[in-house]
Amino acid sequence: MGRVHKNFKVRAPDPRLAIIDERLKDVKRIFVVVSGKGGVGKSLIATTLSLILTKRGRSVGLLDLDFHGPSCHIILGTKGAMPTEEKGIIPPEVHGIKFMSVVYYVGDEPLPLRGTEISDAFTELLAITKWGRVDYLIVDAPPGMGEEVLDVIRLMERSEFLIVTTPSSLALKTVSRLTRLLLEVRAPILGVVENMRITETKLVEEHAKKFGIKYLGPILFDYNLEECFSNPKKLLGTKFARNVRDIAKKIL
């Protein structure tokens, strides 16, 4: 019997997918700040949490995933920082945080992307960004449950989700949908934060109970936040930051 040598042509998947786990391998934990709803404080919480963890001596990465409305750079104040190129892209350290955003590249230009294009941009970003050794990678998600959230679930499997809402039934309706989605795909949920509390209500606590997730406590409405943007020291001195610190204690 002669031996049969056979050659086969085979297809290969998107090469970027093969390298993402490698890029994230020295990232210990990934926290994704989500809501479903916009304007509830995701960016402010993600950025403040990053600053708090950095202050405690942890190495922190912050990824602004809101391609249509990036905000973390405004809260942080990035002043001319730019990623460097070294067999990939290395995020610059901004106030001690390894910070990555499309803002470095598009500035204030609108970035009108459709769903598949967002997914492509995100995949590319994950494939080329070299976070290195990081204790916490904080991801600031956009509103909605489109590409970004679905891709986080698909591409960053170790993600743990921090859900943000305001104590309003309007926000909670949308937040409930997102909570259901996360539970359905068995994504780990750190808990739900009640942001911008003005008067006391039990709405968010009840939401948490209903879904069997942790209520992480309130962040009070703070009138002085606007003047703290681009000034981390001042931001860390606010009541807002104090509330975020209490929340940090419960999720670490």
Binding site: H5, N7, V10, Y105, E124
Partner: protein
């Protein structure tokens, strides 16, 4: 040198697929390089040569083939090509597209109707067209 990161991704994919298919030998891999990203082929080639050392890809023929990109307006339907559109972009914007090709949407508009809503057809990024293995 971000070409290096792309080369790493390509190599990992080829190795994964070869393993999955139970390949004895990886004879050839054809890599498509979309023109949108303006990848430096010399740098990429160098990265491949370094990265395949001491891997099952050491003797594999790695063929790089460019793939032309063009744009198609979703509003008025016009098609146009990339080199005309981007020659005037300047270094910073070209670099942005080089890193994340989709950022082209921040910088280019349809030449006929001015819409930012266009499709990138053909050569967006870098991908493995096929690999040839023996079992």
């Amino acid at each position: 040198m971000h070409e290096w990161a792309l080369a790493e991704a390509v190599i990992s994919t080829i190795l994964n697929v070869a393993k999955e298919k139970g390949a004895k030998k990886i004879i050839k891999a054809e890599i498509k390089i979309g023109t949108l990203q303006q990848i430096e082929v010399d740098v990429l080639t160098f990265a491949f040569r370094e990265l395949v050392k001491n891997t099952p890809l050491e003797k594999t023929e790695i063929k790089l083939k460019p793939e032309e990109v063009y744009f198609k307006c979703r509003v008025c339907g016009v098609r146009w090509n990339f080199s005309n559109a981007t020659s005037a972009l300047g270094r910073e914007k070209s670099e942005a597209i080089h890193f994340i090709p989709d950022l082209v949407h921040a910088f280019i508009r349809c030449p006929r109707c001015g819409s930012p809503d266009f499709e990138v057809v053909g050569g967006r990024g870098i991908w493995v067209e096929y690999i040839k293995i023996s079992k």
